[in-house]
Structures are given as C-alpha cells and as structure tokens.
Symmetry: C2
Amino acid sequence: MTTDEPVDLDERLRSAGYRVTGPRRAVWTALCQASGHVTAEQLSAQVTAAGQADQASVYRTLALFEELGLARQSRLGDADAARWEVAHPDEHFHLVCANCGDIDHHVGSLVSRIRDHLEGDHRFEVRDVELVVTGICARCRDDEATA
Amino acid sequence: MTTDEPVDLDERLRSAGYRVTGPRRAVWTALCQASGHVTAEQLSAQVTAAGQADQASVYRTLALFEELGLARQSRLGDADAARWEVAHPDEHFHLVCANCGDIDHHVGSLVSRIRDHLEGDHRFEVRDVELVVTGICARCRDDEATA
DNA sequence: CTAAATGCAAACTCTTTGCAGATCC
DNA sequence: GGATCTGCAAAGAGTTTGCATTTAG
C-alpha cells in the first residue's frame, strides 16, 4: 500500500519556524491514533481530559497542521462538524454509509482520472479533489438481505 | 441540454401531503431566481426583507425541499455555511475557484462513471455522489498569465 | 374546525478571538 | 529575554427549537 514513513512532527514544525510544544504533540498523537475522520471536538475531548491542551489550542493546532500539509479537513456529507485526518499522500476519497455512519477511505485511480479529465478538457487547474460518496456499505447491504 | 420542465411547487407539495403557503412559495421563488449556490442566510435576507417569511421558516422550508428532492444542499470547499441550489436532474459536480470564488457547475458523464465503478467493484450502493473540485478557473489562469 | 405551519426569540453547536500569563528557543 | 504559544472565557457564525398564534384545507 503506502510506505508509512512516520512524520517527524518536531522536525516539520521547527523547519517551518514554529515551536514544538506539548499541545501540538498531543494533538498530533491523538490524530494519528484516531481511526481517521475525527471531529475537532472528539480530539479536544480526549486531549483536554488528559490535561494536554485546551479546546482553543486544538482548533489552532489543527489549522496549523493543515497549513503545513500534515492534516486534512473535510466536511463529509451533510455533517455539521468538520472531520480531520492525517494528510495521506495518496489520492483517495470517502465512502460514507448513510446507514451505519461508517466512513471508508478508498484509494484508487479515480481521483487522478478526474484530475486528468479536468486539466485536459476544461483548462481548470486542479488543486484539490474532494469526492464524497454517500450510500449503503456492503456490510449493511448484507444485513438488510439477511433481515 | 436539459428540458427545463418547470417544477410545479404547489402540486409537489400537495401530492406529498404538505400545505401550500406563502413562505414556501417565496423561498422557492428566491431559490429559483438565485444564481444557484446561495446560502440559507442569503435567501433568508431576501425573503425576510420582503416580509414573506421568517428566517426559521426559510431553514424549515429548505429542509422540506431537500426531503422532497426539490433542492440540494452542499458544503462547498471549506466554506462555513451550507449552500443551496435547485435540484438538478443531471448528475453534475462543482468547480470552485480558489482565486475568484466562482462556483461552476459541470455536467458530464464523470459522476455516473464514478457511480458505475463503485457499484461494480465495491458493492457499495451509491445514493449520492458529491464531487467538489477546488482549483483555479480558466479566467483566473488567463489573468495571471497576462499580469 | 383543526392539524399544520409560522413568527419570534431563545437555545444550541461548532469554531474563533482577545488578552493576560506561561513557555520555548 | 522576547516573541510565540497557551488557557480561559467570552463572542461569533450558522442553524435549530419551543411555544403561542395564525392559517390552509
């Protein structure tokens, strides 16, 4: 799949002129350990409970990580809160199950094909492709069939 | 392109067991006249100024329209507020220009191809595909080149 | 007439901000 | 030591809700 070269947060921060602090490390750790697609509030709850950072710092830190290209924010489906994940080098998209709420990553050539299509035909300089597919996942389909 | 068979709001409401009211008509008219991709607040401002509906009714009405399949909500890019548009029978996606903020519709086979791909390979029952591409539109690219 | 819809205002959720004090380099 | 970062608490968007009143059918 992907060579999961671990990101050296300290190094990345310093080289961009930012300081290495407890809250930043804590948010990064929490984000990495999360299953992906966590809300800022979920991270905040965890990190705050451990007394490692305040809610405000969580938001500020996430914004910083996004700026540094370490994290990615997306608003999946019609959800109210934004969801965060560690920036993944691969092009991927999200499959959101409308039944169980499960969010799946899908890595594939689809996104880059979309990219090519637009660059070629439409003279649109693509910066970011966000593809969110809502539907019913395989597991829920099976459950329905069984029921 | 599309046969723009005008939607008979009154009929649609009544046949679904809902009442035809002033606020609903007003919101529908405003949404249809809008360039598309308006926020609820923009609609609200317009409709409230004309004394045709309250803000709360605008939100309630939009939710109803969505339920009836008359309108579509989407959160484009990292925007804070949801944007609304009249539901379009064609599969389409959005091109958001990061420079001028312009939002373009693009109708094409791309979305249905995504759909087919997922139905076939991944046993995912697709309900809705939301594709948002952020980048620089042709006009802004030209401007840059000239400058 | 009566269930459904509205207006008003207040509540709620998610996120951002101002500022005094703590912290990293 | 001094700019950067933090915590706290308060404000800010956007959206929803409770309830008395109005209105469509």
